[in-house]
Symmetry: C2
Subunit: 316 residues, 2 copies
């Protein structure tokens, strides 16, 4: 059974890691949001790709949700001492990766090629692929400041401004890479990881032809909203500011056009008539991933739901 996961940052990376533990390397790939990518200090930075890569290589920093474990900050401290911008945290090892990625991009390599080369250098056997090789920028429209580049909203303004909408700049020129198409064509199911629906999953879904695969394949989602809250990040706050009650149901409504199965935390969905209404198989489980065991367990539960759906499909 071959699975492709769609993922953003921390939560998505954790489930991707779990799935990588329960599936053979050739049978599991991740397509990652690049709408957060941006240029800073002349460097091209891909926060979600790096989080997924560091997490699958077991070298992420669990305390921060970004960057490498054991990293230091000599370079950024020097930038600060010299009066430069230090609002975006960059460890020294992390910086080395950004330098080399920026160098390769300027040489004409695609982000996909670079990802495949870097994951290989980190000893990761799974394919980690950017959602596209074109520049797509998530723009957060806010009440207070109008449109903000994502990192400006997320890091610099600490998600404080009130969200009124989103735009994925450049999305009309985006397309799936040959490598992503191959993975999507050959997979049995697509897993939507518990990532922020607005700024991690929607950009991926908006890449040209992506939704066609979601309609063709078995799709299982995992709710990033647990009892009205997120583990990390502003997804719940965003739903609220957009006038939607933040809940697993809100996420399900977002994905219902293509969802076949949905994993939610215990008690997060009420009346079980949902399945009849939209033919979505809903299952309760522990969605919170505190440690490696949790990641593996949720990976297994996800896999089992996919299997059940595939079997049901075969019967029908």
């Amino acid at each position: 059974m071959k699975i492709v996961a769609l993922a953003g940052g921390v939560g998505g990376a954790k489930l991707a890691h779990g799935l990588s533990m329960v599936l053979p390397a050739n049978d599991f790939s991740v397509i990652v949001n690049t709408g957060d990518d941006f240029s800073h200090l002349g460097l091209f930075i891909s926060p979600d790709i790096d989080t997924v890569m560091y997490t699958l290589a077991n070298i992420e920093n669990p305390a921060t949700g970004w960057g490498r474990n054991g990293d230091q900050f000599l370079a950024l401290r020097m930038v600060a001492k010299l009066g430069g911008p230090d609002w975006f945290n960059l460890g020294d090892m992390d910086l080395g990766l950004h330098l080399e990625r920026t160098r390769r991009l300027s040489e004409g390599q695609s982000l996909t090629e670079i990802c495949l080369s870097f994951t290989n250098a980190f000893g990761i056997k799974n394919k980690i692929l950017p959602m596209c090789d074109q520049k797509v920028s998530t723009i957060v429209n806010t009440l207070e400041y109008g449109e903000l580049a994502f990192q400006e909203y997320f890091v610099h303004r600490r998600c404080d401004p009130t969200v009124v909408g989103f735009r994925y700049d450049g999305i009309e020129r985006s397309g799936l890479s040959q490598q992503s198409i191959e993975e999507l064509e050959n997979c049995d199911a697509i897993v939507i990881c518990p990532s922020n629906p607005w700024v991690s999953i929607r950009p991926i879904l908006a890449v040209k032809h992506m939704r066609e695969y979601l309609r063709k394949k078995i799709v299982v989602g995992v709710s990033p909203i647990l009892h009205g809250k997120t583990v990390k990040g502003p997804a719940a706050k965003m739903y609220q500011e957009l006038g939607i009650n933040p809940s697993a149901m809100a996420v399900l409504m977002d994905y219902k056009d293509f969802l076949n199965g949905f994993l939610v935390d215990h008690g997060d969905l009420g009346p079980n008539d949902l399945e009849d209404q939209w033919s979505i198989m809903i299952q309760e489980t522990d969605v919170l991933m505190r440690d490696l065991q949790d990641r593996k367990r949720l990976g297994m539960v996800t896999l089992e739901l996919v299997e059940t759906l595939l079997e049901r499909n075969m019967v029908e």
Copy 2:
């Protein structure tokens, strides 16, 4: 008494440091070679400026002759792990400085403005000025490979190729900055530090209008060649390959058009008829600078020679 020193890397930085110890901060400035500047990993690197700056701030790495003391190499090790170019050593703190310089240049600040801001951040009271704000690149013409960019020759090829000539690319578009002109106009003497004549001093001398100041002012040089050898770097090897016996005399011949005084190591110049021939006051001293005391002592000796020459000038 106001002094301007012309300097390249390590040797020049040491004497500049010595002079900074024996002169009030307002009375001593350094104009530094930028012919070695280059772009690497997307960063704009000014090796000689950084060496002078780190040396005057007492934070240089004495073991290597480049970079900062106590620096680490996490970023560059990551670049290497990812298969990127690691032939040019860049410490993490050093990298922070290059990132911020590159960012400022891309914002339109001049190298001179950036130098003055950085020296200020390091608590250096002297002005450290680039020889010009335009891009000038020292090109080493070699027997084996033809023309090589300086760092390609110096670091990558470890000065191995046989030198047949030099070219300072872009020099015709270079000019002294307003800040350098001010220092040169107001100074009483110019000191040519014991730096490589071919690749550290000549590029500075070739900047438009620079030689006019050398003809107008008292000029004292310090030989970088001691008993036919250099303390560091390829100056002696270059003289040899260009068919010139490497000696203090060879350096003096290079500078004789504008030199008023010359400091050489004991026994480095033979018959003392030189002074009569070119009116150059030659003085023997310990040119080697092993420690801070040596720097200060040579700074003092240089100052005394300048004073003697200024007095003699007044008498005439």
